[in-house]
Symmetry: C2
Subunit: 216 residues, 2 copies
DNA sequence: TGCTCGATAATTTGATCAAAAGTGCCGTGA
DNA sequence: TCACGGCACTTTTGATCAAATTATCGAGCA
């Protein structure tokens, strides 16, 4: 019965749910995560919750403390440096590789997502901004045939999500700037180099913004 | 009873065991991995085996097929390109960052490990080569205070382990060259730039070697 | 021979339970 | 007041079982 429910296993559902919670700033750095708490949240047993937590821990989205507790890691300048280095390698490459595959439909979708980003910024909607910004970037990255790079990028976004939430909450969304327009224009022209540069600028901008939350 | 056994949970033990099996070429690309098979291998229940598999899957060491089967992924040139790009970003950075922390004891240990590498090459001992080579690199990488980069590097090594085994088995160990001596000398001189360059050369060399197994 | 269909076997998935380990609170005694 | 120890509660961990899903293999048929 209930043939319409997803074919995904439960642990996949929990994984995706928690992943979005982290990416879109619904959790706070330092916040503890318990197996049973997750199971209750989704209304399922502890077994799939455990598997989802292991997966997120392996991706660096969660950390296991010295005892056996699990928590969302806090940001430090050292961590931020490492993340920026790899983001600046991986994401411009993904954007450049996407140029060869981008279609008119993709351009339209990217423009739609970018307008959602702008709306969220104007409206001060932090969660909406984080989600639209993520979807813009990863719609583009999905076009590139580069699963390894994309998964590294996702892992890095998971690490900055909570901090981005904090900094947006502190300084508001008004100061947010992005280079999505330049990227879209470069994509439309099929200019790989310009696409890469727009993405590089976008990342530098965002990481500089996050810098303000880094402790020590 | 057995108070001397490790304080690690079972799933951690299984994870480390399978990780070494993959890193050191004890598994073949395409080889299926079953949850019960792992449990039997270690002599434990299926629950911790599942958690270990989820973790390795999240790290890209294993892949889930279209059905629910788990397997060791095969290498392709596209995957190899992506891995090389990130390795060339992350590992020279780790090596350079390690320079500031390296002690005389570390130098001695690196020389010992490098001699193990040479012995394994001379003796045609593939497993010994893979293990000593890994320990050389990651002893160095552990010195750098850069857990995020190191974990990315480990994830990438997990992806090349099975292929490295295949190519060594096919062409033997005689053709293996490395730049460990140059790296050690640069470390001894405290020359960060030279250390970075030696590591870059070492990676290029190794990835070129693996290229020979890539399909399509 | 080559093919489909169906039954059996193997595997994953998720719930549940018991044991181990950790946390925090509260009262006693100096 | 404060240190210390006991006790209850929470959480993780691993085993086990049932259900669901998938693979495998063989019989029947054109």
């Amino acid at each position: 019965m209930t043939v319409l429910i997803s074919k995904k296993p439960e642990h996949e559902t929990i994984y995706l749910r928690v992943k979005e919670m982290i990416l879109f700033g619904e959790v706070v750095p330092g916040q503890p995560v318990t197996i049973h708490g997750l199971a209750d949240l989704i209304g399922t047993g502890v077994t799939p919750a455990r598997e989802a937590i292991r997966r997120l821990t392996a991706e660096g989205a969660l950390v296991t403390l010295e005892n056996r507790r699990i928590a969302v890691p806090a940001m430090t300048t050292r961590r931020l440096q490492q993340i920026e280095l790899v983001r600046l390698t991986v994401e411009p490459e993904l954007a450049e590789a996407a140029v060869a595959y981008v279609s008119q439909n993709d351009i339209n979708e990217l423009e739609r997502l970018d307008s959602l980003v702008d709306d969220a910024i104007k409206g001060g909607d932090i969660r909406g901004y984080l989600e639209a910004n993520y979807r813009f970037h990863f719609h583009l990255y999905h076009l590139a045939d580069a699963g390894i790079l994309r998964r590294i990028a996702e892992s890095l976004w998971l690490r900055v999500g909570p901090s981005l939430r904090v900094v947006c909450g502190r300084y508001g969304t008004a100061n947010l700037v992005d280079h999505h327009r330049a990227a879209i224009q470069a994509l439309r022209q099929g200019d790989a180099q310009k696409t890469r540069e727009a993405m590089t600028q976008d990342i530098r901008q965002g990481m500089g913004f996050i810098q303000q939350t880094a402790t020590d």
